[in-house]
């Protein structure tokens, strides 16, 4: 490499040199990278512990170059609470899918957020259960076909898809909540910014933070990766509006 050459793209230090098990076109890899970049840019890799969920990202601990815990299904916020209360000097994040976070783990996340636990939740919403092979999730859209709603999700029978950041927004406790998406480069950049901000709020010991990231599941949606990004844009964005829902700084005014 000559002195004029400049490295513009490398593996983040917070990621391991391991090939992931994710399906082609899955956006977990992108999101992992964004989380790792945030950790690197804030210089906290050596004091960070992640909490892996049960779901497609159950093996996240293989891909992050940080300490990690593997939680029971839905309980990552409880583990994170226990850890962070004893080690407030460390940086703690949970990485959870829609089934893990808001189906089986709804109680744990709502109460952790309400207590204002100073950790960060990366919530990946792809509107389906991925690891078990495409079952209905709390975020599955109306009419969306899954293996457990083969005729399409029927709201009469199963209720409406849960809007998580809106639901948490109803809590009085100060917190940072933002919904972003990774279906286009522009949105990936916005997602990166939001994740970094979430970690900053934790480092400053300000508040609980949760970033909901709209994500694709080409395998279980039965679409190509490219079709999946279009499907996300046309179907998920209208129902799950992007943007910052709660931010402590704004609330001070």
């Amino acid at each position: 490499m000559s002195s004029e050459d400049k490295t513009i793209f490398t593996r983040p230090e917070a990621m391991t040199d391991v090939i992931t098990h994710y399906c082609p076109g899955c956006t977990h890899g992108v999101i992992h990278r964004l989380v790792a970049e945030a950790i690197d840019s804030l210089g906290v890799r050596e004091i960070t512990v992640g909490v892996a969920p049960v779901g497609c990202s159950v093996l996240a601990y293989n891909y992050f170059n940080t300490d990690f815990l593997e939680a029971p299904h839905g309980r990552a916020p409880a583990l994170a609470t226990g850890f962070k209360r004893l080690r407030p000097d460390m940086i703690v994040f949970t990485y959870q899918g829609d089934g893990d976070l808001i189906s089986i783990g709804m109680s744990e996340i709502v109460h952790a957020a309400n207590r204002g636990e100073k950790f960060t939740t990366i919530f990946v919403n792809n509107a389906i259960y991925g690891m078990t092979g495409g079952q209905m999730a709390p975020t599955t859209l109306q009419g969306q076909i899954t293996t457990t709603c083969p005729a399409g999700r029927d709201l009469e029978n199963t209720g409406y898809p849960i809007k998580m950041v809106e639901l948490l927004s109803g809590l009085m406790t100060p917190m940072y909540l933002e919904r972003v998406s990774v279906h286009s480069p522009q949105h990936i950049i916005k997602t990166k910014r939001a994740i970094k901000r979430a970690f900053e709020y934790q480092i400053e010991n300000t508040c609980f933070s949760l970033i909901e990231i709209l994500s694709t599941c080409p395998t279980n949606w039965g679409r190509t990766p490219e079709e999946s990004t279009v499907w996300l844009e046309e179907n998920m964005l209208p129902y799950y509006p992007l943007g910052c829902f709660r931010e402590p700084e704004k609330e001070k005014d």
């Binding site: 815990l69 309980r75 583990l79 994170a80 226990g82």
Partner: protein
């Protein structure tokens, strides 16, 4: 230190602090809530962590997360709450985490009642959650012993990197007795907690998990745990004999509060020249297998009565140990009913064929 009069639940809480366990997560449930109330006041004084969680499910997972720091953590609950904790207990056993859980047992099944019972013996000693695992189970019969065993629980948890459960019935939690705390809790040296999550600084990342997708790795982990349980069986069996001698024709086997009631019965029977001994397991896992067998097969022992505040749970372990060598008789009350010494005396007399004196 001088003796102080304390309620069982409060004494258990103070004992944990003495053992350096300054991190406590809880959810209210009768009859153990006083532990939480006591620590809500005491924890700020010692600069520890006190947190009331949203459910026992969450609390058990909080101690799971907290224990990975390498610091001493614990929770207390009662039967229905302990059922909710089984998920995390299985994970913590699989991931080899040292935590202490106290079960101040009440009557079940289901919501049951709030009065003392010993009906969680199976749950505590046979695993409780899913998978091939065991936890150490200690059963005090006095408040002083609850204090001593509570401190010991933290030591054993660290020694074996395993969950430890102390089970006392509601009586142990609610009763008041004079107790003595050591000025400084002294314990044998423990291995360093070089597995704790402290951040991947100058070392490779640590992962604490119970997931082994490769069946060989999972089998290896299961045999590793099994070997640890064998070590516990070798080193940690604890029990107490009461008035066991060659004149005994009858042997009682009981633990916890029930053992104490049996002692009173034995004292009164002695006044009537009826010689009865008591074998009291202190560790329920590991179970004093050889020790019970050796007492039971003694030639002078004609009658063996197992007494429990359940419909017969430890009884099955005694049966297993005795292997049909002698006839075993069971007496139990449950649902929150605590047998009186008179009831035990009546049972003993019935067995040995003595007429029961009618009260004047």
């Amino acid at each position: 230190m001088a003796k102080v009069l304390m309620k069982g639940n409060e004494a258990i809480a103070e004992a944990a602090l003495k053992a350096g366990a300054n991190n406590y997560f809880c959810y209210p449930i009768t009859p153990q809530t006083e532990v939480a109330e006591y620590l809500a006041k005491r924890m700020p004084e010692v600069g520890g962590v006190f947190l009331q969680g949203e459910s026992e499910l969450a609390v058990a997972n909080m101690i799971f997360g907290a224990s990975t720091t390498g610091k001493r953590v614990f929770t207390t609950s009662s039967s229905p709450g302990i059922s909710l904790m089984q998920e995390a207990i299985s994970y913590m056993a699989g991931a080899q985490l040292p935590v202490v859980i106290v079960n101040i047992m009440r009557g079940g099944p289901g919501l049951g009642g709030i009065l003392p019972a010993q009906s969680d013996y199976f749950q505590a000693t046979k695993g409780g959650g899913h998978g091939d695992y065991r936890i150490l189970v200690l059963a005090p019969s006095t408040i002083q012993e609850a204090v001593d065993l509570m401190m010991l629980s933290f030591h054993l948890a660290d020694k074996y990197r395993n969950p430890v459960m102390m089970i006392g019935d509601g009586m142990i939690g609610q009763m008041m007795e004079p107790v003595e705390f050591p000025k400084h809790y002294e314990e044998p040296e423990l291995p360093p907690k070089d597995w704790a999550i402290t951040g991947a600084k100058n070392r490779k990342p640590f992962v604490i998990k119970s997931l082994f997708l490769d069946p060989q790795a999972l089998e290896d982990n299961s045999w590793l745990l099994h070997a640890k349980y064998q070590e516990m069986k070798k080193n940690e069996v604890r029990f107490e004999n009461y008035k066991i001698n060659d004149d005994n024709q009858t042997l009682l086997i009981a633990y916890g509060t029930m053992a104490r009631i049996c002692q009173t019965a034995i004292d009164r029977l002695e006044d009537e020249n009826i010689s009865v001994g008591l074998f009291r397991p202190i560790t329920l896992f590991p179970f004093p297998e050889k020790q019970i067998y050796n007492e039971v097969i003694k030639k002078n022992i004609k009658n063996i009565l197992v007494v429990e505040m359940s419909t017969g749970q430890m009884f099955e372990d005694v049966e297993r140990v005795v292997r049909g060598k002698k006839k075993l008789i069971f007496y139990g009350r449950t649902g929150g009913i605590v047998p009186s010494p008179e009831e035990v005396i009546e049972q003993v007399k019935k067995i040995i064929g003595k007429k029961i004196k009618k009260k004047a």
